[in-house]
Symmetry: C2
Subunit: 202 residues, 2 copies
DNA sequence: ACAAGAACTGAACATGTGTTTAGTGTTTTG
DNA sequence: CAAAACACTAAACACATGTTCAGTTCTTGT
């Protein structure tokens, strides 16, 4: 791990922005604050990135690339993402909520890959059949991302530091359990839900 | 449904703030914008709520109360929340991410109720046993909340309007399927995950 | 060694921000 | 009905914001 001082100023600014944007939100972060964190003048920020918006896009590119290069969309990927540097996690959560074009594209991409991956599993017999493969993929991905977006809340209730991997692992294991054996022992809720919908929309 | 004009100015300001805060974030929303949406002067906003922070707290209270009064934390509650007015949904998502004290309390409360509900189910035999009841409850709740927080992303990929209930229902059904029958047909992933963890932390 | 260019800064500018103040109508109340 | 309380506004204030500009220091290729 490299210390802050032996990074180029440009990288230092980007990292500072990533962290600030992640914690305080993009609108809640001033160029001056980023500059101060990086130990440079506000003018240098705009010199390197053109504008605050340019800085945000640079963060987008950096985060998305580092996730994309992370490998296949699979259960292992879950583990990787959860263990990724927390500033990146926080930033990604903000980007997804703020509905950045880049974040939207990433989400769509992950869903696409996941749907294909689940289809393979279905063929090979280790994934159950589904009535709506698309909806399942979307829901599954949003479940993967949920503890990431709700990191603070989940972490607090699962003890200790949300940044601590042990905490994330605990949640991930519980999730895998549900996905493997199911949560409900019979289909009473599924039936009830289907019934309600059929009654509402005949 | 009541039109905007026959609400008191105070309520109109609160509603406008709810919507603005939800879409643009709290830091990204100016008192002037809220005032303009509500058709009042900026000074009236602070007259009624003391400050921008006071306005945010009023939104917190309003949203949380309307959710709390919604009934039991159960699968039916999922449906209710998903069908709730979208401005409220968006605001709640922001509040959870911004880690408002009130939002954190709500999350903890929902988890508490859910854990108790799952424990009842375990006793009555319609919920499977779990190695870590707490972690399961937390994960389950974050899964319920996931499509709410990631509403824009999920909605776009599931077709049409994210506000449309049909879209949300489609995702909810897919989720219930996974929770009932499980997603994976065998425990290869669960085993793999457990193995990795045991190897990492002996 | 020198010139060209990049990295970098301090001060300033224009604008948007949350909030205050003084004041005007409009209810409510004794 | 007068007075007190309330709803409400226009104008202004102090400050924070994103960005620009002129200038300085540092690096680098020749």
């Amino acid at each position: 791990m490299r210390s802050a001082s032996d990074l180029t100023a440009r990288a230092r600014i980007r990292d500072a922005a990533l962290a600030r944007f992640g914690t305080d939100g993009i609108a809640g972060t001033s160029v001056r604050a980023v500059a101060a964190d990086a130990g440079v003048s506000p003018a240098l920020v705009v010199h390197h990135f053109g504008s605050k918006e340019g800085l945000r896009q640079a963060c987008d590119d950096y985060v998305l690339d580092s996730i994309r290069s992370g490998g296949e969309a699979s259960v292992e990927a879950l583990d990787e993402i959860l263990q990724a540097a927390t500033p990146v996690r926080r930033y990604l959560a903000r980007a997804l909520l703020d509905d950045t074009p880049a974040a939207g594209a990433l989400f769509a991409e992950i869903v696409e890959r996941t749907e294909a991956w689940l289809a393979t599993g279905e063929e090979e017999g280790w994934v159950r059949a589904s009535a709506d493969a698309r909806a399942r993929a979307v829901t599954y991905v949003s479940w993967l991302l949920a503890p990431l977006v709700l990191g603070d809340q989940v972490g607090r209730l699962l003890g200790g530091d949300p940044a601590e991997t042990a905490t994330a692992v605990r949640g991930a294991r519980a999730g895998l359990e549900m996905l493997t054996h199911g949560l409900f022992a019979d289909d009473r809720w599924l039936k009830a839900f289907t019934d309600i919908n059929e009654r509402t929309r005949p």
